[in-house]
């Protein structure tokens, strides 16, 4: 399967009373048209409002729900976010344009305890990757009396509708640069790269339920068996986030679209490795599910005659057991495994970092200790609301200090200790 990604670099976002468009790398947003596109026929949102946050500004966005990169499919089967926005059809081939340097951020009144903070400047900006993107922020207001899971779904869909609408503005543009990604059928790949080790990416998807969910082609991941995909499918939005798990190590939809493990394995594809495919598995809470899913992951690794895999986690605590089960069973099949995780070693860094361990997990990359305390400065402007800042996971009653600064764990910062290796943060 072959996909050409065309990048269009956005250098500024501005509001306009006129027609929405992308002109000379500037995105012009008409608020009314954007609101209409985002709301669609949604009955659970009373209103949405828009704001723009730029790198370096004294701006804090909170509570942040999701971050999404607008994309548009210009050639080939299907459309962006298949089974969610576009009709169900196999994506991952043809041509797709991506709006680089920007993101759609959904925010507003808290859904669960586990939404995040994006600071565009100061100490927090060093940790969240979304301090580096031009952010079109949509603040959502739910209708009265809405249940949390209904509200979550409403905000999730509004974000995808808005991102799709923005992506469509790029349909007739010419990309600034393009890159081609191609994977091969099992026999085809073996013939093409007879001497290269066969490698796959095993991605664990957050699926603990109760607002900890991920969707694949629109299917709730907790109701799936481990499965295989072409890695290019993720680039067309085949996996989306429906998560309210701790902000630092959940994967916003942006991370799925731009999965760095996939990008870095493609860099080696055909040179040092044969990047065979992506394997998806879930992180359910029941022991039987954990056993079944990890059995299947190991079985697929063997069936595909893999030599090595990279295994990434999402979330922490309970999923640490899935991580170790997967690693143990895959290694036991003779498939060399490297895992990517993050740590909860306590504020003092002295505790055991994971809730589970095994000698088979001898090759670990870490995204850092999420319990590390940081002091975030008082910023001039808040997009969203500070009403819930003490309730977000990683904050406490003592978070808001007398001088207006915030004492929080890295946990509160969206994407800070990402477990797909999105960042440079680590720990020893």
């Amino acid at each position: 399967m072959k996909l050409e990604l065309g990048n269009i670099y956005i250098k500024d976002i501005q509001f306009t009373e006129g027609e929405a468009k992308i002109d000379d790398h500037i995105l012009y947003v008409n608020k009314e048209a954007a609101a209409a596109a985002a709301l669609g026929e949604e009955e659970h949102l009373a209103s949405v409002s828009f704001d723009i946050a730029k790198p370096g500004e004294s701006v804090r966005i909170t509570p942040v729900k999701d971050v999404i990169e607008p994309r548009v499919k210009v050639e080939g089967r299907g459309g962006i976010f298949p089974g969610v926005i576009a009709k169900v059809d196999t994506v991952g081939s043809g041509k797709t344009y991506c709006l680089k340097g920007m993101a759609v951020v959904t925010a507003g009144k808290i859904v669960g305890f586990q939404e995040g903070v994006i600071d565009m400047s100061g100490e927090g900006a060093k940790y969240t990757p979304f301090s580096q993107t031009l952010n079109l922020v949509m603040v959502c207001t739910p209708v009265e009396g809405l249940k949390q899971h209904e509200y979550e779904a409403a905000v999730r869909f509004a974000g995808f509708r808005l991102a799709t609408y923005i992506g469509e503005l790029a349909r007739d543009l010419t990309p600034d640069d393009t890159k081609v990604y191609e994977t091969y059928g099992i026999m085809e790949g073996k013939e093409k790269f007879p001497n290269l080790p066969r490698v796959a990416y095993v991605q664990m998807l957050q699926s603990q339920g109760l607002l900890h969910d991920t969707y694949v082609y629109g299917v709730d991941a907790k109701k799936t068996l481990s499965t295989i995909m072409n890695p290019t499918e993720t680039m067309d939005g085949a996996i989306v986030s429906g998560n309210c798990v701790s902000a630092c190590d959940k994967n916003p939809t942006y991370v799925h679209e731009n999965n760095p493990v996939i990008a870095d394995l493609f860099e080696e594809h055909g040179k040092t490795i044969n990047f065979v495919c992506q394997i998806l598995t879930n992180e359910n809470v029941y022991l039987a599910d954990k056993m079944r899913s990890s059995d299947w992951t190991a079985k697929l690794c063997r069936l595909l005659d893999l030599d090595g895999i990279i295994l990434s986690q999402e979330g922490f605590g309970n999923p640490d057991t899935d991580l170790i089960m997967n690693c143990k069973k895959i290694e036991a099949e003779g498939v060399k495994t490297v895992i990517i995780t993050d740590e909860y070693a306590g504020r003092d860094g002295k505790s055991q970092s994971l809730a589970d361990a095994d000698v088979a997990a001898d090759a670990v990359v870490t995204g850092g200790n999420a319990n590390q305390v940081v002091i975030l400065p008082k910023l001039d402007k808040v997009i969203g609301t500070m009403d819930y800042i003490t309730k977000i996971a990683g904050a406490s009653e003592e978070t808001l200090r007398a001088d207006g600064t915030l004492e929080v764990e890295l946990q509160v910062l969206t994407g800070a200790t990402n477990e797909t290796g999105f960042n440079k943060l680590s720990a020893r």
Partner: protein
């Protein structure tokens, strides 16, 4: 600004007094003198710091007169009032390494003065002290001095100035059980791909998180006659008398509670609750027996299925609580359980 004051500890060999034949050399304080490897440290200290005194001690003397030597040296360091204490580096010299670790630990503990040493990773002093004293990892012989001395000196300056100490890979000290964040040169996914390529090629690679060795507790033999056994309940599910009288934290608990359930037949929403912050508490608060099954055990007691339910239960919150704390709690209350003649424990989690 006044220069940072450093007191430096070395053995008889590095003081050029002699080798093994002079290992009985007693502890000696040389005020105002920079001796041997002290010169190498001074090069890195520059104008920022100076060695105001050097303490020399024979390795055998130190180890054979441990208490006396330690007391003498600590007293001298106290008198010299340094901002930081440096010992070694000891490379692969075993007794020297143990002496460096011992004296650094004593200076930190007794005087509150920060200390740093350096040695080879297989030096027995490393295993004994690397978790207590910053220990720069060095080569296995004094040929590694040129590389080790600047690392020791830089870390000493940081400690003296009270600056934040970076991660072990940044500063060059041996991992000491404290995880410290820092920014790598490459993103995590790139590091993972490189690690995998090395692993596939059977080339060496270094994991970023060595797996801890988990304690494996062998199960005790089965209780011989459960109908005669005295059973106690212990939980990490946070069940406490209503109002949480001992203020057990909802996360990262600092203590456990001991509560009397003599005569209590059933835990109710009015009398008990959970202090645990890591799970939805609704069902535990509605009926705390769901986490701490007092009601069922009372039934079994009545039916003669067990001997008796112990009148005390022990409880804490497992959420985010350090393993070290859990272990300390259990070590303490296990003794109480044994003293009370308890035959078996039902440990419930959430």
């Amino acid at each position: 600004m006044a220069k940072i004051k450093v007191v430096h500890y070395i053995n008889q060999f590095f003081a050029q007094i002699g080798g093994e034949e002079k290992a009985e050399y007693p502890a000696e304080l040389r005020v105002g003198e920079v001796v041997g490897p002290g010169q190498a440290l001074m090069q890195t200290f520059g104008d920022e710091a100076e060695i105001t005194a050097t303490i020399i001690c024979g390795d055998s003397y130190f180890n054979e007169n441990l208490d006396k030597a330690k007391a003498e040296i600590v007293a001298w360091v106290k008198e010299q009032k340094p901002d930081v204490f440096v010992a070694g580096p000891a490379f692969n010299a075993g007794r020297y390494g143990v002496a460096c670790g011992t004296i650094c630990d004593a200076v930190q503990e007794e005087l509150g003065i920060p200390a740093v040493t350096g040695m080879y990773e297989e030096n027995p002093g490393a295993d004994m002290f690397k978790d207590k004293v910053y220990t720069i990892a060095t080569a296995n012989s004094a040929a590694g001095m040129r590389k080790a001395a600047p690392l020791v000196a830089k870390l000493a300056l940081k400690l003296a100035k009270g600056e934040k100490v970076g991660a072990s890979v940044e500063e060059g000290y041996m991992p000491n059980g404290v995880r410290v964040n820092f920014f790598e040169e490459e993103r995590g996914s790139k590091r993972a791909v490189k690690m995998l390529l090395n692993k596939l090629a059977d080339k060496p690679f270094v994991t970023e998180y060595p797996m801890p060795s988990f304690d494996h507790v062998a199960p005790n033999p089965a209780v011989k006659d459960i109908t005669k056994a005295k059973i106690a309940l212990v939980t990490s599910g946070g069940i406490v008398p209503k109002g949480n009288p001992d203020h057990i934290e909802s996360s990262s608990a600092s203590h456990y509670g001991e509560y009397d359930i003599a005569g209590v037949m059933d835990l109710t929403a009015e009398t008990y609750e959970t202090a645990h912050g890591g799970y939805d508490p609704v069902y535990a608060n509605e009926d705390p027996d769901r986490v701490l099954p007092v009601d069922v055990l009372r039934d079994m007691e009545k039916e003669g299925k067990i001997g008796e339910l112990h009148h005390l239960f022990y409880t804490t919150v497992g959420n985010g609580t350090a393993v070290a704390s859990s272990k300390a709690f259990a070590e303490e209350f296990s003794k109480k359980l044994l003293a009370d003649g308890v035959d078996a424990v039902i440990l419930t989690s959430t």
